[in-house]
Subunit: 415 residues, 2 copies
């Protein structure tokens, strides 16, 4: 069985070591890693074949098999991802604040790496390289625990990345992979508070819930998005239908897709028939409350469960309200604090919604699909945080750092 304590100790050593690495050293290692991935694509594809063979034997679903599959194209994308992160500014070492106290103590608040990041993820082996690039560039040591489905692929990708670190003159233990598939090991890993500073689960709602329930290490929660669009009575319908169609159907399987419409009752008669026609062209099933069904008589009745469901499918729920206050209350009861939008031409109503709705990203007259590191101009992200602590919304490089206070004295003692 994996000696997790030994891995933890090596990670803590690597964490300390990383505090003295320069930006150039990090960028050089990322560049070498990108070259190595391309040069050793055959080695990766061979390992991936073993994983796929086992997946077929285990009757894995085609969608899951697709996620597991690596191709030359996907390996190229992984390599490009490393180069992209290398081009981003180094988030470590920024002076965030600086002040001198009356007793002469000089206090500097400086951005530093989080330390040791644990990442628990599922079948997509490209997460191995993506997560490495972001966590390493932000000065962190990592312990990865990938899905057992992708074990052979993950072992080879990790080996290649570690070889790149060594080639760059850096310690390989910056990146470690848990190769054990025993669930007991994962469970113990989530409690290694003495060695691991932060856990980031990447995967479906089930994985994230399991980590939240079992971890004693602080978790960065990402992913779940039960996103709403509220169509106010003062909405411009020429904007509304394209925005709703985009948010619902441009990509159904993502966390920033719209799952539910909240509709001012005074606008339903003018909005719903045309909207239903547009949704029908994409085969989107509508589940509506009573007032919705007065207009769309053939739609499925919506239940309480519908309002709390992230479908990730061609389904949308509809709830009618009597105004922005009721819309806010409904959304705050059912949403996952991810991305919410109001469509209105009324500035006061818009501001009321922006203040009242509790979510990482709140939009006026735009699609929820913009909640994304690249769309915000931040570059690659480790995920979209929908918790309140630390970072909210797209988590790029600065969000993978914390800070420390450096305090310079000259013999000060407290009176």
């Amino acid at each position: 069985m994996t000696d997790l304590i030994a891995m933890g100790k090596r990670a803590v050593q690597a964490k300390t070591y990383l505090q003295d690495i320069t930006t150039d050293q990090k960028n050089n290692a990322l560049h070498i890693a990108a070259i190595y991935l391309l040069e050793q694509a055959d080695r990766i594809l061979e390992a991936n074949k073993l994983d796929l063979k086992q997946a077929v034997e285990n009757n894995m679903s085609p969608a899951m098999q697709d996620r597991l599959t690596l191709t030359r194209e996907r390996i190229k994308a992984m390599a490009e991802g490393l180069e992209e992160v290398s081009a981003l500014p180094d988030p470590v070492g920024r002076t965030l604040e600086e002040f001198i106290r009356p007793n002469g103590l000089q206090i500097k608040k400086v951005a530093v790496s989080l330390g040791v990041i644990g990442i628990i993820y599922e079948s997509r082996p490209n997460v191995t390289a993506d997560a490495f690039a972001l966590c390493f560039k932000s000065g962190n040591a990592m312990i990865l625990k990938g899905g057992s489905d992708a074990l052979q692929s993950n072992i080879v990708i990790t080996d290649i990345l570690r070889e790149a670190l060594a080639k760059a003159g850096l310690r390989e233990d910056i990146l470690q992979l848990i190769k054990d598939t025993d669930r007991q090991v994962t469970s113990e890993f989530m409690k290694m508070k003495q060695y691991v500073d932060v856990l980031i689960p990447r995967g479906g709602a089930g994985l994230i819930r399991a980590v939240l329930e079992n971890a004693t290490i602080p978790v960065i929660e990402t992913g779940t998005g039960n996103c709403h669009i509220y169509v106010d009575k003062d909405a411009d319908l020429k904007k509304a239908i394209p925005i709703i169609m985009n948010a619902k159907t441009q990509r159904i399987s993502v966390c920033n897709a719209c799952e539910s419409l909240v509709i001012h009752k005074d606008i339903r008669a003018s909005l719903l028939p045309e909207l239903a026609k547009a949704l029908k062209t994409k085969n989107v099933e509508i589940r509506g409350d009573e007032l919705t069904r007065e207009i769309l008589s053939d739609c499925v009745p919506a239940t309480e469960t519908d309002f709390g469901t992230e479908y990730l499918d061609y389904i949308i729920s509809m709830k009618t309200v009597s105004g922005v206050e009721e819309a806010i209350a409904h959304i705050n009861q059912y949403n996952t604090r991810h991305s919410e939008a109001i469509l209105t031409e009324n500035k006061d109503t818009a501001e009321r919604f922006l203040r009242g709705v509790d979510a990482a990203c709140v939009y006026v007259n735009a699609s929820t699909r913009f909640t994304d590191g690249f769309e915000f101009g931040f570059g690659a992200e480790i995920g979209i945080s929908n918790q309140k602590l630390h970072a909210r919304g797209p988590m790029g490089l600065p969000e993978l750092t914390t800070y420390k206070y450096k305090i310079y004295g000259n013999g000060q003692i407290r009176g």
Copy 2:
């Protein structure tokens, strides 16, 4: 049994309502609350007597009884605390960043309240008023769960604060207290993720560990401080002894007190005899490693357990090292990421230590006792965070906020 779900729903409503409250409204309510506490001191003292009577019956230790006891003086301090927080700047609503994307989306990153904060605490009933002031001023709704020892005091203090909210024209449900002493209720409270955004345990190491192990709500961990001072070979001994004495003995029961010395072996002969003499005047027991005991032959041998212990007592452990690297490695293995100090006149060694040691606050030539909201100039604090996420070190009002992105569009959809 307490209907936690109903409490949660009321807290979410109060959270939304709080988004529209002005700074003046908050300050006015804090001021009324301060007056009410003073005016109704007798009512508080009466309830406190009931708690103390039960404490005596339960054979509570004198130290614990002291923590539980309220006096006119302590009630006055609570009221002054409310006024002090009212005088601090409002942390909500600050624009942290603002930019426009090429597609015309205008993105504003704005400081907002965390939402609903759950606070779980032990016997000190003054925490009720202190926590209320900080969380309320930062725009948060609260659900409090105090220790059952202090239940009667907490009920009355909470009632008075709620009356003050009502008098100020605000909703009482901003502040709710769980009056149930059933452990099962506390356990369920820690899992109310749909309603409570952040949990802050305040109390001893046992309480904090229990919350970390059982909560599914994100926790802000505060409190534990196994703080070290490293005396480098280039230390100025005239500064060293006063700093060590201050950090160890000025107040032994606090998280920023020094628990362990790390000593460069080349300086031990000149440091230790005089230091031991000074420590003896305060009856501090020394537990030393082998090289320490070569100089201080009568001190107790230190074990591995000593190096990992936050004594909160008149005891100090001593570990000798061969240089700053070994000092950093030792500290990073045993510390609790709270406050650490180096004593040296060598600037390079100091910088090496500041970079390498993993802690919220790292000092050069000053006492670790300065890790405190007031000493940093931040004002009242909810605690000293020793985790990496969100806030590190003293947590004042800005640290009780998060942010949201407000995004203004004009029909943008994602391509």
